[in-house]
Amino acid sequence: FSRRRERAARGLGAGGAMEFRLEAHRIVSISLGKIYSARGQRGGLKLHKNLLVSLVLRSARRVYLGEPGGECALPPRPGPPPPPDCERLRRGCRPLASEAAARGRPECPAESPRKRSAAERDPAAGYPGKKPRRETEQPPPQEDMETGNVASLISIFGSGFSGLLGKERGAAEATEPGQVCCEQPVLRSLNPWSTAIVAF
């Protein structure tokens, strides 16, 4: 196990911010590889695993692109106490105001994004467009698992990734040659995938 990589994943270590981004990029590559290889898996797409992978992908992408709210995926850094209104972060680190992003400081780092209010705890409330169900309905046997939406999960990140490939070259120039772990060859080897991403 690479200690340096592990510490970077936890937000520690020297050159913290750059290590974050390199690590985030690496996690993005690994996650894309997992989603891609899941398509050929015996037994069909595993919804649970792919959901978890997509959540990791989302967090890592936010950190890599330096998006505000991306820091929610990481342990809080010591700093001034959080402002009273942390409502925005409750729903899983939605992007903050650009001003806060420019400051480079996470807002409400101690606020757990997973903690929900009583209203949110009602699962039915989370699905505004939920169809009414008949009580004795047996799910139709021909129902589609809709796992084709894995491709559309990727399309969500798509706009970020053509940018990702551009940024990566910039990052490679900025750092020492030995340090780069965001391998262009890795992305290229996921051949059909990178083509699809660029097309998005």
Binding site: G44, L52, V63
Partner: protein
């Protein structure tokens, strides 16, 4: 019918990759029946093997009720859904026993899509002396029959036969992860990633949907159901766990559709432990009611937690299974180990809980004394009737003689499935394709 046979052959040769021939032996579920007399295992190849405990005999006191193979049968076959171009694995995800009501034994076994009710019964007598057919079953020439006789039952070698009595199919779009028999012994539930269905044992062409968390737009999906279980005594109550680390308790008397929970168990996240993988490691892989029905136990990637049904805001006990892995999460994500689904079990008196780990280690936690022990299930370290030696993982600093360092752990040897006898200190531990049965030593 020939056509069916051909299809099966095509299915098998098309789907079975010979390089994973031994993968079929990997045990995927272990379960004692309600008396502990029988122990069932299911494997990736769709087979069920049932072990029966020997009657204790005065002649051989050291063979204290050992388990021997009682019955083996093929429960599920690989299937191919041509319409959706989907392969359906034959792997047995769960086995659950029904309480015994007559001489036969009944169990439910399920793969990703289909639940089956199997009857396991003994036959030790055979009718002999038919009028119209001879001993081989061939019809006799009527002109040769000169007398009338009544067939009599004669003893024969014991034969154990398993027959599928019910097949509950076509009710799950997603992969079934749990089945649970209700305490009314008339119904059971099956849970997949997004839905839970209630079945009556007698009715196979209908099930009642009691939980549905599928969002109208799948792109809004944020959590899935990971496990579900009925309360041991209250036939109206069940719990289900989610990939977000929460548990919902539902009461079927409140409404026909239990999308609204009666209780919601969630522990606030510790912000100092947050990482890219916080969400994955908080996903609950197993949930089990205590025998008393007062507590539930949950397993996530690094811990086992005990919850009091009367307290929803945090667990009453948290046990660290292998916290030394917390700093390795990135590598465990890379090699997919972070997705391993460990199960957890109570002992008969709810005083000890047990769960598995890597390197063929499994852990026991005594809830009263707060002591814990790590044991290993391996051939080299356990000869028959030898006492298991506690193991220790060295997390840093100087490694002592018998300790094993974290980096030497074998992550391909994982113990996901264990079972505890309902009343005695006998445990069954599945280590890949080997089953270990350990008993308390009696002097």
């Amino acid at each position: 019918m020939e056509e069916d046979i051909d299809t099966r052959k095509i299915n098998n040769s098309f789907l079975r990759d010979h390089s994973y021939a031994t993968e079929a032996d990997i045990i995927s579920t272990v379960e004692f029946n309600h008396t502990g007399e029988l122990l069932a295992t299911g494997d990736k190849g769709g087979r069920v093997v049932i072990f029966q405990r020997e009657q204790e005999s005065k002649n051989q006191p050291h063979r204290r009720g050992e388990y021997n193979v009682y019955s083996t049968f093929q429960s599920h076959e690989p299937e191919f859904d041509y319409l959706k171009s989907l392969e359906i694995e034959e792997k047995i995800n769960k086995i659950r026993w029904l309480p015994q009501q007559n001489a036969a034994y009944f169990l439910l076994s399920t793969n990703d899509k289909t639940v089956k009710l199997w009857k396991v019964s003994e036959r030790d007598k055979r009718p002999e002396g038919y009028n119209l057919k001879d001993e081989d079953g061939r019809l006799r020439d009527p002109s040769m029959i000169t007398m009338l006789r009544v067939p009599v039952l004669r003893p024969m070698d014991l034969m154990v036969e398993a027959t599928p009595r019910r097949v509950f199919a076509n009710a799950h779009t997603y992969h079934i992860n749990s089945i649970s028999v209700n305490s009314d012994y008339e119904t059971y539930m099956s849970a997949d990633d997004l839905r839970i269905n209630l079945w009556n044992f007698e009715i196979t062409n209908q099930s009642f949907n009691i939980v549905d968390i599928k969002p109208a737009n799948m792109e809004e999906l944020t959590e899935v159901i990971t496990a579900a279980e009925f309360h041991p005594h209250h036939c109206n109550t069940f719990v289900y766990s989610s990939s977000k680390g929460t548990i919902r308790l539902c009461d079927m008397r409140a409404s026909a559709l239990c999308d609204r929970h009666s209780k919601f168990f969630e522990e606030p996240e510790d912000p100092s432990n947050r990482s890219f993988f916080s969400e994955i490691i908080s996903s609950i892989s197993d949930v089990k009611f205590s025998h008393s029905g007062r507590y539930i136990m949950t397993r996530d990637y690094l811990t086992v937690k005990v919850w009091d049904l009367n307290m929803e805001n945090r667990p009453i006990e948290t046990y660290q299974v292998h916290d030394y892995l917390r700093s390795k999460l990135c590598s465990l994500y890379e090699n997919d180990c972070i997705f391993d689904k460990f199960e957890c079990v109570w002992n008969g008196s709810d005083s000890v809980i047990m769960t598995g780990s890597y390197n063929n280690f499994f852990r026991m936690f005594d809830r009263n004394t707060k002591r814990d022990v790590t044991l290993e299930a391996s051939r080299e370290n356990s000869k028959p009737r030898a006492i298991l030696k506690p193991r220790k993982v060295c997390v840093g600093g100087k490694r002592r003689k018998d300790e094993i360092s974290v980096d030497s752990l074998d992550f391909s040897k994982k113990i996901l499935h264990t079972a505890w006898h309902p009343s005695e200190n006998i445990i069954a531990v599945a280590a890949t394709n080997n089953l270990y049965i350990f008993q308390d030593k009696v002097n």
